[in-house]
Every structure is written in structure tokens, then in C-alpha cells.
């Protein structure tokens, strides 16, 4: 039995990597917004879902016009990223900023607002889809040249999986450059450290917050398109589970910490995939694959008990 378990391992690790990249990209949106506003934006899972839906719609409406699957995917990624980024900006502008303006110091207020925004977006997408197509469960159209596969070192790899990895790596590298090397990135880090003093530098915090929502939102949107590509079925409620797992990934890495979100996403993706495969075998089927979802939350609970600052996070000390 051990032999068969081990022979599966490379394939499982690869699948975990794919899932992990998707989690990492969503987790970045949670962590960046937390970094600047100390707000857990629970509606971020809907930003991800909207990206996925936009991707499905692009495939549906353009697959007869654009025959090259890679070009079609590129269009879907760009549109998905933009739409999600813009919805994220609108969400901040109309739901969170008014609360900030009013000087609400109770942190439960924006948190509950986020949950409310989440419901609104879910049902808005449902309404639009239902009016448009008479149904709100969507399937990603398959495009033949994305469906091929190769086997490398015994790992079955679909072409579209390669796309997921390449795009994720490019986005993560791009984000690193943006945050660490550009004027906007420095402004984001500055606002995250001390919003008041940032204003003394001439930085308009509202603009930086909007940009942060846009960047985090478009990463989530691109993750949504890749998720739809990989897992094909999407509904207005598809954001919830990946969203809350990505939130766990962000906490796992240390909330507010950008490299932490990437590490947390990958670790969680691997853990979940490993559990999904090995738990049924190890327990003779008593615990089925469907229990893989509780792994994320088990991790969250254990983490909050034993290392609440996360893997890469630091305990915040007030320095006088």
C-alpha cells in the first residue's frame, strides 16, 4: 500500500501546487487590504467569483470569434482582472470609505459591512446571470487547444495547468516588483505603516487605498479565471469556500505580510490536496475526500491557538 501511496505523490504535489497558486493570489487581496486598512474584507471572495464569472462569459461569447485558445484565455484574464479590480474599487468607495469618513472606530462595523457586501454581490451576479441565460450555474466552455496534456516524470500535466502556473508566477513576480520597486508600491507600504504620517509626505491615502483594492481585486479576478479554467463549474456562490480558504492562507502566512500570503497559499493548497487523497486511503474510506475542506479550518484553528502571528508574521510590539 505504501508503494501505491508514494507513486501518487508527485502527481498530488503538482495538483496541490495549482490549487496553492490560486489560493495565494486570492490571499494577496485579503492581506494587502488588511495591510493598509486593518480590515478583513470578507467580500473579497466575491471579487474572486466575479473574475471567474467574467472568464466564463468571455469564453462563452468569444470562443466563436477567437479560435486560438491561448489568445482567448489572455483576453479572459485581462477582462477578469479588470472587472474584479473595478468592482473592488467601487466596493471600497461606496461601502468602506463612507464608514472611514465618519470616523467609525468600532472594527466590527466595516467587518459586518463586508459580509453584507458579499451577499449583495452574490445575488447581484445571480440576478444578472438568471436574466441573461436563465440559469446561474455556469460551465467554462472547453477550447480544444487548451485541453491537451503531456506526461513528465510520471506527472500528468494538462496544458491549461501550465498556463495556471505561468500566469500565477508572472502575477506574483509582478506584484513583488510593484510593491517593492515603484513609487506606488512604496506609497502603499508607507500608508500601511502609518497613514497619518504618510499624508505629511503628500500622499493621498484615499488614492492609495483605491489602488490597493484594485491590485488585490485584479489578482483575485485573475485567480477566478484560472480557477474556472481548472475546475470548470462556477456559480455565484463559488467564491465562498475558496475565499475563506484563501483567508486562512493569508492568516497562515501572517496577515498583512505579502510573501506570507504566497507561502500560506501554497502550503494550504498542498495540505488540502494531500489530505483529499490520503485521508480516505489511510482511514479505509471512513473519512472520505469530501473532508478535505475541513483541513483549511483545522489549520486555522491550530494556528490561532499556537502561532497567531502566522508563519512569517511578527508579533506587533508597540515601540515608544
Amino acid at each position: 500500500m505504501l508503494d501505491s501511496l508514494l507513486s501518487l505523490l508527485p502527481q498530488i504535489l503538482f495538483e496541490g501546487l495549482l490549487l496553492g497558486f490560486v489560493y495565494a493570489m486570492i490571499a494577496l487581496g485579503y492581506t494587502m487590504v488588511y495591510g493598509v486598512l486593518e480590515l478583513i474584507n470578507f467580500a473579497h471572495s466575491e471579487i474572486f467569483m466575479i473574475g471567474a464569472v467574467a472568464g466564463v462569459e468571455i469564453f462563452r461569447s468569444l470562443s466563436n470569434i477567437i479560435h486560438n485558445g491561448y489568445l482567448l484565455l489572455l483576453v479572459a484574464i485581462v477582462v477578469g482582472g479588470l472587472v474584479s479590480g473595478l468592482v473592488a474599487i467601487a466596493m471600497e468607495r461606496f461601502a468602506y470609505r463612507p464608514l472611514r469618513r465618519r470616523g467609525t472606530t468600532n472594527r466590527l462595523v466595516p467587518l459586518i459591512t463586508a459580509v453584507g457586501v458579499s451577499f449583495v454581490l452574490q445575488d447581484l451576479v445571480r440576478l444578472i446571470e438568471a436574466l441573461w441565460h436563465n440559469e446561474f450555474f455556469l460551465r467554462m466552455a472547453s477550447v480544444s487547444d487548451l485541453e491537451g496534456s503531456v506526461t513528465v516524470l510520471g506527472i500528468f500535466i494538462q496544458y491549461k495547468s501550465i498556463v495556471v502556473i505561468v500566469v500565477s508566477l508572472a502575477m506574483l513576480a509582478g506584484l513583488n516588483l510593484l510593491v517593492n520597486k515603484t513609487r506606488l508600491g512604496t506609497a502603499i507600504r508607507t500608508v500601511a505603516q502609518d497613514m497619518d504620517t504618510a499624508r505629511l509626505m503628500g500622499i493621498n491615502p484615499d488614492r492609495v487605498v483605491s489602488s490597493t483594492f484594485f491590485i488585490g481585486g485584479s489578482l483575485g479576478g485573475v485567480a477566478g479565471v484560472l480557477f474556472a479554467l481548472q475546475y470548470t463549474t462556477i456559480s455565484p456562490y463559488s467564491g465562498f469556500l475558496p475565499g475563506i480558504k484563501a483567508f486562512t492562507a493569508a492568516v497562515l502566512g501572517g496577515i498583512g505580510n505579502i510573501p506570507g500570503a504566497m507561502v500560506g497559499g501554497l502550503v494550504l493548497g498542498e495540505l488540502e490536496t494531500l489530505a483529499g487523497t490520503y485521508l480516505p486511503t489511510l482511514t479505509n474510506g471512513t473519512i472520505g475526500t469530501e473532508y478535505k475542506d475541513i483541513i483549511a479550518f483545522l489549520v486555522l484553528i491550530l494556528l490561532l491557538l499556537f502561532r497567531p502571528q502566522g508563519l512569517l508574521g511578527q508579533i506587533v510590539k508597540e515601540k515608544v
Binding site: R199, L200, M201
Partner: protein
């Protein structure tokens, strides 16, 4: 250059400034003295737009700036070195300087100003790749001043630059302030160290629980028995 007319500010219901009127002329060093809670920091925060006045007016170069947001006031040429330095702890020294020049678009100019900052404070050059949070108190104060200078302000607001520093560093910082003034910067200096502040200032104001109680040239204030009693240690 700068005028506050009947400035009234409050935190919630507690008044912090009660009808304060002060002015700073181009080329001056003006110091604002007073005990803790006298309203010195509040005055500076009002000028730089961090705190909005309830009543009264702030004029800078004939323009009423009381309603402007802080991020706009910096662009008018008012640099604020805040109380407690407030450098960005997780940015490097060089990034701190870079963000100080946020409104400057010309890269060459930014580079030149960084070099000037490093000439003024050579230790910052040595520490340029270190995180701001790892610097000593004196180095942080130098960085905070250098950061404010990156936008080349005409008026510099300094909030207790000597706080918590060793005497030799206090001397150094005050030398720097005097040098900056000779190079043409107008300075509004808030200090606990009244003796040092009056030694370099042209004029001074004394605040007591939000009210202006005394104004005059530095010489007059130094000679005033009440000031000697309360702020210069008799």
C-alpha cells in the same frame, strides 16, 4: 509668511487651542514654548492640516489654507517633522528619504537632494540600506528632518527635535537647525528645551493650556523673570 488668527482647536469636547494668534515671517526662527499639554503640537498639526480648526484662520503666503487636506499643504512648501519622529520603521533609510520626495517628479532632483541629506547627516549614508526602525533615536531624528527636507520646504515645522536625545546630539541638531535657517529655511520650532530654543530663535511665543500668554523677541523672553522661573529653571 504664516499667520494663525484666533485659532481654536479641540479634541472632542476638550479645547486644545483657545484663540491663538501667532505669525512667522520669512527667514525667521520662531519658537513655541510651553509645558506638556499647552497646545504646541496641536498648533503644528493644525498648520500642516492634520487637525482641522473649529474656528479661526490659517494663512500661508496670503492664502487661506485651513481647509486644505494635509497632503496638499505639503505641496505648498510646508514641511512637518512630527513629534516622536514618525519615520517609517519597515522602510529603509533610503526609502524613507525617497517617500519624503513623493511629490517631486524629477528623478535627478531627488538624487541631488538625497546627496545633500547625506552631506548634512553622513551617518544616514552609512545606514542607507537599514530599516528605519533599527536606527537609534538620534539617527531617527536626523532621518525625520532629512525626510522633510526632501520636498525642499520653505517653512519647516519642527516638533521637539531634541526629545530623548543625548546632550551632544541635541547640540548637533540645534546646529543643523541654525544652518538650515541660514540657508534660507523659515523655521517654527516647538521645544521643551526652552534655553536651547531661545538661544537660536529670533522670536518666541509661550502657550499655557491652549492660550497664548506671552510673546516677544528671544532676548525679551530670556530676560523675563516669569519665563526664567517657569521654563529656564530660575
Amino acid at each position: 509668511m504664516l499667520e494663525l488668527n484666533n485659532a481654536y482647536a479641540a479634541y472632542g469636547r476638550i479645547a486644545a487651542l483657545k484663540d491663538v494668534t501667532i505669525s512667522v515671517k520669512k527667514g525667521e526662527i520662531v519658537t513655541l514654548l510651553g509645558a506638556n499639554g499647552a497646545g504646541k503640537t496641536t498648533t503644528l498639526r493644525s498648520i500642516s492640516g492634520m487637525l482641522k480648526l473649529k474656528r479661526g484662520e490659517i494663512r500661508y503666503k496670503e492664502e487661506s489654507i485651513g481647509k486644505f487636506p494635509a497632503e496638499r499643504i505639503v505641496g505648498l512648501g510646508i514641511g512637518h517633522v512630527p513629534e516622536g519622529r514618525k519615520i517609517f520603521p519597515r522602510l529603509t533609510v533610503e526609502e524613507n528619504l525617497g517617500i519624503g520626495a513623493y511629490l517631486v517628479k524629477d528623478r535627478k532632483l531627488i538624487h541631488e537632494r538625497k546627496q545633500k541629506a547625506f552631506e548634512l547627516f553622513p551617518i544616514l549614508h552609512e545606514r542607507r540600506n537599514q530599516k528605519g526602525g533599527t536606527l537609534s533615536g538620534g539617527e531617527q531624528q536626523m532621518l525625520a528632518i532629512a525626510r522633510a527636507l526632501m520636498q525642499d520646504p520653505e517653512l519647516l515645522l519642527l516638533d521637539e527635535p531634541s526629545m530623548g536625545l543625548a546632550p551632544i546630539l541635541v547640540d548637533f541638531i540645534f546646529d543643523v537647525i541654525r544652518t538650515l535657517n541660514r540657508q534660507g529655511k523659515t523655521i517654527l520650532l516647538v521645544e521643551q528645551n526652552a534655553r536651547m530654543a531661545l538661544a537660536i530663535a529670533h522670536r518666541g511665543y509661550i502657550l499655557q493650556t491652549g492660550r497664548l500668554v506671552l510673546a516677544g523677541s528671544a532676548k525679551e523672553l530670556e530676560a523675563n523673570p516669569e519665563v526664567q522661573e517657569a521654563y529656564l529653571g530660575g
